[in-house]
């Protein structure tokens, strides 16, 4: 056992204590923070989008700008609610000490209007006594869209087509509207006769930017709202009534049929418990791919460096193989473990203690972790042996490529079906994948939280173990026979090696 552990430790150290890996460990969280900060900064520094409206109907232009402003007001209150939920002391929130309209709640029209009438300063003053120590000030969202007056030449155009031609230089930044630092972002043209009717001409949205569709969506939504309001008014409904109707939610609670009434209500804990197996399965795929590549390159290096014969004079081929499997497997587990622990720690530190706690209890207070580990080891063994054997029959990565294509296909083939197994863990696809030995680990892990039939899991697992043993023996034979050959065996000879001929 000692030589196996020595080899495993050397393999592990080689990767984990390499400068590259340590640098990656430091750089990754820094990178995430940097990217997050950069996105936030860029978002904040993004210029407001200027737009103009040519409204031949005379009805919709102001309605659109009012609707956009109303949306901004709602966004501001939504941002405020989020700020209050993390900045205000939890006890104060539980005791409802924050007064209306500043306490987080539904974005009803009356509340949004009351908030804006009072202003952000009043809102901040209302929560000041309950702020947690060191909480930052509320950063109100900026105006993202600014409506400008239509340039004179466009306003005097005799048709929409002519107006577009007169606006085009502004949209292409050949002309600037006086006093503006940025080119005109979009022009909205509302033709005569625009309305909800099927034959009504459509509104036009002109812009040079084809990727940022936020303004287009806002205008579209604003026009829809306006048309609906008009329709509602025709049916005798007031604007206020319409707003009140919009915030109505149907109360519904989901329950788990497999639990007693007392704890059957579906909550975050249940959702995490259900999602965790899927997350672990995808992680398994990533680990197998990563560790498999390490095994492959590492074996090729030892083969081409001629180290392997020195090693084989000190340990048996089986010990060398096992040492490599354990060492590289541990490398494969290290990174996700670090990120999982780091993620949970970050979750706990950033106030996400509830979900982090649920994730920990889902892992450690059930049989799931044991299942994950068992099937992880089986899947790793199956695929790692294949990678190891490919490494043993290849003098270079180029040699290995001819074998890697089919193997990669095998590794990732179940990926498209995983969503189906997730959504229907005891369905046909799930059963089929369960009975294919190389996919048994994936399928069983995906189904772990949904109580699949015991006989199916036991039978498929027995089949998988038998397959894993046969495969390990065959791949081991290839490894032992090929690792010392000066030139790689031909593809047709590999099958003979696998059979021990």
């Amino acid at each position: 056992m000692r030589p196996i552990l020595l080899i495993a430790w050397r393999e592990y150290r080689q990767y984990i204590f390499s400068r590259g890996f340590l640098l990656f460990l430091i750089m990754f969280p820094l990178g995430v923070v940097f990217i997050g900060a950069a996105i936030g900064f860029l978002e904040k520094s993004k210029p407001a989008r200027d737009y103009v409206i040519l409204d031949q109907t005379g009805v919709y232009a102001d309605a659109v700008s009012e609707e956009i402003e109303r949306r901004r007001e709602r966004d501001l209150v939504e941002a405020w609610d989020f700020y209050v939920s993390i900045a205000v002391d939890e006890g104060a929130l539980e005791e409802n000490l924050v007064p209306a309209p500043y306490a987080p709640g539904p974005l009803a029209r009356a509340r949004v209007e009351a908030f804006h009438t009072a202003g952000v300063a009043a809102a901040e003053a209302s929560i000041a006594p309950y702020l947690q120590g060191g909480a930052p000030r509320f950063d109100a969202p900026r105006h993202l869209f600014v409506r400008l007056d239509l340039p004179g030449e466009a306003a005097s155009a005799s048709s929409l087509g002519e107006a577009v031609e007169r606006l085009r230089p502004y949209l292409l930044d050949q002309k600037r509207i006086a006093g503006r630092a940025e080119p005109l972002f979009a022009a909205i043209l509302i033709p005569q006769g625009f309305g909800a009717g099927e034959d009504a001409p459509p509104a036009e949205f002109w812009s040079r930017n084809l990727t940022d569709t936020a303004l287009q969506a806002a205008v579209e939504s604003a026009l829809e709202q306006t048309l609906r309001r008009q329709a509602a008014a025709e049916h005798g409904l007031s604007l206020a009534t319409l707003e009140d109707l919009a915030v109505i939610d149907a109360p519904m609670t989901a329950y788990r049929a497999d639990k007693t009434e007392a704890d059957a209500e579906l909550g975050m804990k249940d959702r995490i418990e259900t999602a965790l197996p899927a997350a672990m399965t995808y992680m398994l795929l990533v680990i197998i791919f990563g560790a498999g590549n390490l095994l492959l390159t590492n074996t090729i290096e030892e083969r081409s460096n001629k180290i392997v014969e020195v090693l084989l004079s000190s340990v048996t081929a089986d010990q060398l193989m096992m040492g490599k499997l354990i060492g590289i497997g541990a490398v494969g587990l290290t990174m996700p473990t670090i990120f999982a622990v780091g993620g949970l720690a970050a979750g706990l530190a950033s106030g996400g203690g509830e979900w982090a706690g649920y994730a920990v209890s889902a892992l450690f207070e059930s049989h799931l972790l044991a299942i994950y580990l068992f099937y992880f080891l089986c899947a790793y063994m199956i695929f790692a042996m294949i990678f190891l054997a490919i490494g043993a029959v290849s003098n270079s990565l180029h040699d290995a490529q001819s074998y890697m294509g089919p193997v990669m296909l095998l590794v990732f083939l179940p990926l498209p079906f995983m969503l189906m197994v997730y959504q229907n863990p005891n369905g046909l696809i799930a059963s089929i994948l369960t009975w294919i030995p190389i996919y048994t680990p994936y399928a069983v892990m995906m189904r772990a939280a949904s109580d699949p039939p015991f006989w199916e899991i036991a039978g498929a697992t027995a089949l998988m173990l038998a397959f894993a043993i046969v495969l390990t023996m065959a791949m081991g034979r290839i490894f032992r026979a090929a690792i010392l050959q000066a030139s790689p065996p031909r593809a047709r000879d590999v099958w003979k090696l696998a059979r021990g001929k």
Partner: protein
């Protein structure tokens, strides 16, 4: 102490239809330096791999240090393969200590021995250098030190001199002699006869997987006819009738119309009879030398014929090489 450190009895290794080793038998006694000589493709490396149980013989018996397999006694064996390399990113001392630990030495002792050996062999300053930064000669020394760090009873060195400069070849020869003085048994393969002639107590010549000779240099010479080298301006035809002369070969002109001749004698013939015949024939001799068969001659005579070329393309031939 057992009679033999190593015994091979009728060992055969076949790769498909190709016999890389064919009925090989020999013994190595404790404390001797045993040369394993043969041309490229003769089956030397295959035999050494079988001795170490890295590959299994197709038939026959191998006993190493009293064990039917080298695996249980691996810690008592040091092996330097012909094709050898190092982990590029590992440091020199770390490499030696790693192999020492693989062969059973505790961590601290392995490390201490690694540093001591590097000091002893003039590489103390490079103990913490990565292997990729070492010169080829230094790297070969590190490989050799990794082979002897656990103080093995039996050392198996496959072409240990290949790639070494003359100074390092001399150092290695001294090391091998020193290990013999300390009671270790050394088996080394080579196709450079000078090293074998200088170092070996006994040797085995192998060709096409078969043993062609086993014994010491005196036995080998005794088995080969003695030779005389003569240098003269005169004709040597009359010497053909001298007692014991089998063949006279003209080796060519040397200088001032002088030519060298090789006279092959019958086993046990007296060279003095040839000298007497030369005087009687009135030959003016500027050189008369009694030359026993060199190991090189013996090797060429025994192994040179029909050896497997080194660049044979079949995988079996590669294995045999």
């Amino acid at each position: 102490m057992p009679e033999f450190v190593l015994t091979l009895e009728n060992v055969v290794k076949r790769f498909g239809g190709f016999s890389a080793v064919d009925g090989l038998s020999f013994n190595v006694a404790p404390g001797e330096i045993f040369g394993f000589l043969g041309p490229n493709g003769a089956g030397k490396t295959t035999t050494l791999r079988m001795i170490l149980d890295i590959i299994r013989p197709s038939s026959g018996r191998i006993e190493v240090l009293g064990s039917p397999s080298a695996i249980p006694v691996r810690r008592r064996i040091g092996y330097l393969p012909e094709e050898r390399g190092l982990y590029r990113k590992m440091r020199a001392a770390e490499t030696i200590a790693y192999f020492a630990r693989l062969r059973g030495l505790p961590g601290k002792e392995a490390k201490a021995r690694a540093f001591a050996l590097l000091d002893e062999f003039g590489l103390g300053d490079f103990a913490r250098a990565r292997n990729e930064a070492l010169s080829k000669g230094m790297a070969q020394k590190v490989q050799l030190l990794a082979t002897i760090v656990h103080d093995p009873e039996l050392l198996i060195l496959d072409e240990p001199f290949s790639g070494l400069d003359p100074i390092n070849q001399h150092t290695l020869e001294e090391l091998i002699r020193d290990l013999k003085r300390r009671g270790r048994t050394i088996i080394f393969s080579t196709h450079v006869m000078q090293h074998a002639e200088r170092l070996c107590d006994r040797f085995l010549i192998i060709a096409k997987g078969k043993s062609r000779f086993e014994g010491d240099i005196a036995e080998a010479r005794a088995a080969f006819p003695p030779r005389l080298i003569l240098r003269t301006r005169d004709g040597v035809e009359k010497l053909g009738a001298a007692p014991g002369v089998r063949r006279i070969s003209d080796l060519g002109e040397v200088a001032d119309n002088e030519r060298d001749y090789e006279i092959v004698l019958a086993p046990g013939a007296d060279p003095q009879a040839v000298l007497k015949a030369a005087f009687e024939a009135g030959l003016s001799l500027s050189r008369f030398e009694h030359a026993g068969a060199s190991l090189h001659d013996i090797f060429v005579a025994l192994a040179g014929e029909g050896s497997v070329p080194a660049d044979a393309e079949s995988p079996a031939a590669e294995e045999a090489a």
